[in-house]
């Protein structure tokens, strides 16, 4: 399968899964804070296409896309969102805490910046054990402001660890714009301070992301140390939940419209045939229906605790 087609398929799959989640969210079958990735699919698709199954990704609460792109089981993810025992986290995590050890999806954290050091530690483990694998740390522009971000970059550079830092700069952290949180220095340019090679790419261009990720992953595998890729992109929906937040008055409508015009999926539409597009959609839709059906039938988890001694 061509790279273009597989990137397109990966993105479309993420999009369709999340559109389904958004559509059914009001039904209250899914009850955990859900941070949708719609609009940012180019990043996960591009990066993961440059990775092998044995490579690992540590991401955050906004990880449906990463989990799927890296090869995580859709059924297990939907089961998790539905809070079922068969969920990838046994129902304990919910949307914010996905994991698929076999697919190289490390458990995701709901603490901003929390998972970044896990990727660095994973790279350290590979170094100590002499394995040529790549660890990817995924984080948003907001995580850049957290101290551990800085500590991780310093450590990874010092030890020349095989890690790729991927910053998804979507211009917002929850309801706060970048300019209210950071001085006007491009994030990728700050990597000079750490002696880490870096690149700015259009995160809505999955092919460009893929090219940058391939270079960075290769650098890591050959023992040449960490890299950072800053991907400029935009989330379409509200920070958390299935709704539009422009209507709620959080973000300027023009900003969103501008970015929607730059939809990463639309951009690649011309690279697949109508027939391919149709067949991908049909297959994904079947997969989603299967996953939903599976989740709805799946057993609920049992408590791990016992009733207190004073209870009957």
């Amino acid at each position: 399968m061509s790279l273009e087609r597989s990137l397109y398929e990966a993105m479309l799959r993420m999009r369709m899964v999340e559109e389904t989640i958004a559509a059914i969210y009001p039904d209250r079958e899914i009850r955990s804070p859900t941070h949708l990735y719609i609009g940012q699919e180019g990043v996960a698709a591009g990066v993961c296409a440059a990775l092998g199954r044995q490579d690992v990704v540590a991401a955050n609460y906004r990880s449906h896309g990463w989990y799927l792109a890296k090869g995580g089981s859709l059924r297990a993810m939907v089961d998790e969102l539905f809070g079922r025992a068969t969920g990838c986290s046994g129902g304990w995590g919910g949307s914010m805490h996905l994991i698929d050890v076999d697919a190289g999806v490390m458990g995701t954290s709901a603490i901003v910046g929390g998972g970044m050091s896990h990727a660095v530690g994973s790279a350290l483990a590979d170094r100590i054990l002499g394995r040529a694998q790549v660890s990817v740390a995924v984080f948003g522009d907001g995580a850049v402001e957290e101290g551990p971000w800085h500590e991780c970059l310093n450590f990874a550079s010092l030890k020349r660890l095989p890690v790729v830092f991927v910053c998804e700069n979507n211009l917002w952290a929850a309801f706060s714009p970048l300019k209210d949180r950071q001085p006007p220095v491009e994030i990728h340019e700050r990597m000079k301070a750490y002696g880490i090679p870096s690149e700015l790419v259009d995160g809505n261009d999955a092919l460009a992301v893929h090219r940058a990720a391939a270079v960075a992953a290769d650098r890591a595998r050959r023992g040449h140390g960490p890299s950072l890729i800053e991907c400029s992109t935009y989330r379409w929906l509200e920070h958390c939940g299935p709704n539009d937040d422009v209507a709620q008055g959080f973000r300027p409508a023009e900003e969103l419209e501008g970015w929607k015009a730059r939809c990463p999926i639309l951009r690649m539409r011309s690279l697949v045939t109508d027939e391919e597009d149709r067949s991908i959609r049909a297959a994904v839709m079947r997969e989603i229906e299967d996953a939903l059906a599976h989740a709805r039938r799946a057993p609920w988890p049992e408590p791990s605790w016992k009733p207190a001694y004073y209870e009957v």
């Binding site: 969210y25 955990s32 129902g91 304990w92 402001e145 952290a173 959080f250």
Partner: protein, 340 residues
């Protein structure tokens, strides 16, 4: 007035009265304004006194500490108390130590407002209480209001206090309605409240468990058991006087705490009672706490994780050696609906 409105009302009072008070935190000036508690502050008091911060909780805590040295009185708000774990160095090693370490030269009048995220499957990293953790540390004060009235009065008292105060807010209570006086008033830090008088057993409760305890007490009254309910309100310094006076009268104690048991506030209450009211105790005291586990996300697990009026009721009957009674319904507080 709703609980969350009372928090906002207190903030407006202190900011109007004292120009040295300012409010900061992720989301403070945005449209939702931290569950509505900070809405409009920037409009009334300006962007210098109510502002957003970078995602830098650790340094911002230190920045607040530093600002107190120069005369200001910050209120630092966290949407989830879990995020205070990033700030423990500044809270525990700095803010809590400063007054003693410099022999009073620089007290730290800092308020940390931290919200407990119970509900809607928020899961292990977004629903912790941590009040027991803070209540263990000398140099801090810890308050957990249970009513809109106290939410306002304790926040005002916290800002007036010259020591760092951890003000813990259960969003589970945000929509609760209650009488809230107009104007400026303090609920004193360090004083528990007897919210229902009784003779057979003392039920000492924290935050959201005060309502549950009252519900249990209501049911118990129907069974001929007269329960006294204490709203602890302050967890450090603990009002052991009120606690002990009550237990000395009732001879029995049930503690209902919104936290894990081991080394928590529930342990402290039992310990203080065993040390100082041993002779009055007629039966083993009982702790009603969270199971000793992280909080699960699944809708099949989350509601059952939290004990409520039913468990308090059972614990009281247990300490009275009465055996089980007809079941009592679970909590009737409006559960928190997502997405966040």
């Amino acid at each position: 007035m709703k609980f969350r409105e009372a928090v906002r009302a207190a903030t407006v009072e202190v900011m109007r009265k004292d120009a040295r008070v300012f409010v900061l935190g992720i989301g403070v000036p945005d449209v939702k304004g931290i569950f509505g508690t900070t809405v409009g502050l920037a409009d009334e008091f300006g962007a210098d006194r109510a502002f957003d911060i970078p995602l830098s909780e650790s340094a911002v805590t230190g920045i607040c500490v530093g600002a107190t040295f120069r005369g200001l009185r910050p209120i630092f708000v966290h949407q989830r108390i879990d995020f205070t774990m990033l700030t423990m160095d500044q809270i525990v090693n700095h803010a809590a130590k400063w007054r003693a370490m410099f022999h009073g030269a620089h007290p730290v009048p800092l308020v940390i407002r931290a919200i407990v995220g119970r509900g809607w499957g928020n899961g292990p990293q977004h629903t912790q209480s941590h009040h027991g953790t803070f209540a263990h540390i000398p140099g801090l004060k810890v308050v957990v209001p249970a009513t809109p009235h106290d939410a306002k009065g304790l926040l005002i008292a916290a800002v007036e206090d010259d020591d760092p105060v951890i003000y813990i807010e259960h969003r589970w209570l945000h929509e609760e309605d209650g009488e809230v006086p107009d104007g400026y008033y303090e609920v004193p830090i360090g004083k528990a409240a007897v919210v229902r008088a009784g003779n057979d057993v003392t039920v000492a409760a924290v935050g959201p468990y005060v309502g549950e305890a009252l519900k249990a007490a209501g049911a118990l009254a129907g069974e001929g058991v007269s329960a006294e309910v204490l709203d602890l309100r302050t967890l450090r310094p603990l009002d052991s006087e009120t606690l002990l006076a009550s237990v000395r009268r009732t001879g029995r104690l049930v503690v209902a705490d919104a936290d894990w048991g081991p080394c928590g506030v529930s342990a402290e209450l039992l310990a203080v009672t065993a040390e100082h009211a041993f002779g009055a105790l007629k039966a083993p005291p009982v702790r009603v706490t969270w199971p000793d586990s992280p909080v699960p996300s699944s809708q099949a697990l989350e509601p059952g994780f939290y004990p409520g009026a039913r468990q308090i009721h059972a614990a009281v009957r247990y300490t009275l050696s009465r055996g089980a009674s007809a079941g009592l319904a679970g909590s009737s507080t409006k559960p928190f609906e997502g997405p966040f």
